[in-house]
């Protein structure tokens, strides 16, 4: 069954057809949500809510466009709203000590992973969205532009600035 067929079936009253869409994208949705929320339970909850919102708004889905892009827009907006809420607002302090005593290598990678999670919180939301979708999820600029409903050139600018901001943090810590 294709996504388009599942949507068509859903709109003609067959609610079970929605299962195809949920099962096709649930894993990616939870992972994307986790990258924003840094909490697996929250990520699961946000993904579930995104699927319900998408279902309720299914009639406004334009035939011919990709369900995944439309759905991820709903999911990313929902995660962004949660990130903006007071619970996620408190910023995690960055480490002040030098990274792995100046020695690059496998230990440094583990440390960077932790550092990047903290540093991501310091990025403005659009830069964070672009960095997560492009660099951490490997999506292409064109798709990210569609998900975030912005120009491809704006995506490139946000990505560049996000990378620079993160690299500056690292350079300062070495």
């Amino acid at each position: 069954m294709t996504d388009q067929q599942a949507i068509k079936d859903c709109l003609s009253g067959n609610t079970h057809a929605y299962r195809h869409l949920v099962e096709s994208y649930e894993e990616m949705a939870i992972k994307t949500a986790y990258r924003f929320l840094r909490d697996w339970d929250e990520a699961r909850d946000a993904s579930q809510e995104a699927f319900i919102r998408a279902y309720q708004a299914l009639e406004s889905f334009r035939a011919g466009s990709k369900f995944s892009t439309w759905f991820y827009r709903i999911l990313v907006n929902l995660c962004t709203d949660r990130v903006r809420s007071s619970r996620f607002r408190k910023s995690v302090p960055l480490p002040v000590r030098p990274l792995t005593s100046g020695n690059p290598g496998p230990d440094a990678i583990l440390e960077y992973r932790d550092l990047m999670e903290k540093a991501l919180n310091q990025l403005p939301i659009k830069r964070r969205q672009v960095f997560i979708l492009m660099d951490l999820e490997g999506r292409r600029g064109k798709e990210v532009a569609k998900i975030l409903n912005i120009n491809e050139s704006t995506v490139r600018v946000h990505r560049m600035k996000a990378k620079e901001q993160l690299r500056k943090i690292i350079v300062k810590l070495i």
């Binding site: 859903c10 299962r19 339970d41 990047m116 560049m160 690299r167």
Partner: protein, 154 residues
């Protein structure tokens, strides 16, 4: 390239390095120990980003969302969308009311053939009747069809 310039370029994303800049950076890090450490760290950082793409959901998290989603779906069905946007709905409603009003007026006063036809065929029948033990006048205005009856209770 000196160490200060090297550090500045290190802060920029590698995609922003021109070919000659990249060559100068590589050359500098080969000859300068402290800049080489920074270079290696930034390479590790780029590797970390790539590595972060491999994310797996822990087993403790139930990734099967369908049962919960389905339970919510039955509570809140698809929101039906109007075919027309609100402003078009208003225009549409106005158009229909205007057409209906014009049609009624035309039928009542504008079309003499209807008036002429109505005259001779109108019949008024007045009858006396007893309804629930009370006297009543029943007036029936009869066109061909339909019939209009007025019951007058005394």
């Amino acid at each position: 390239m000196n160490c200060r310039q090297f550090k500045r370029w290190m802060e920029k994303d590698p995609s922003a390095w021109y070919v000659d800049v990249r060559q100068a950076l590589e050359e500098h890090q080969r000859t300068c120990e402290s800049c080489r450490i920074l270079w290696d760290h930034m390479q590790d950082f780029e590797d970390t980003i790539k590595e972060c793409r491999n994310l797996s959901i822990p087993e403790s998290v139930n990734a099967d969302l369908w049962p919960d989603v389905f339970a919510q779906m039955t509570k809140s069905p698809v929101k039906r969308k109007w075919i027309f946007k609100p402003r078009f709905r208003l225009v549409l409603a106005w158009s229909f009311s205007t057409v209906a009003a014009v049609l009624v007026l035309w039928m009542l006063i504008g079309n003499p053939s209807i008036k002429q036809d109505m005259g001779p065929e109108l019949d008024l029948i007045v009858d006396g009747a007893t309804i629930n033990g009370r006297d009543a006048q029943v007036m029936t205005f009869q066109f061909d069809e339909p019939k209009l009856s007025v019951i007058w209770m005394e």
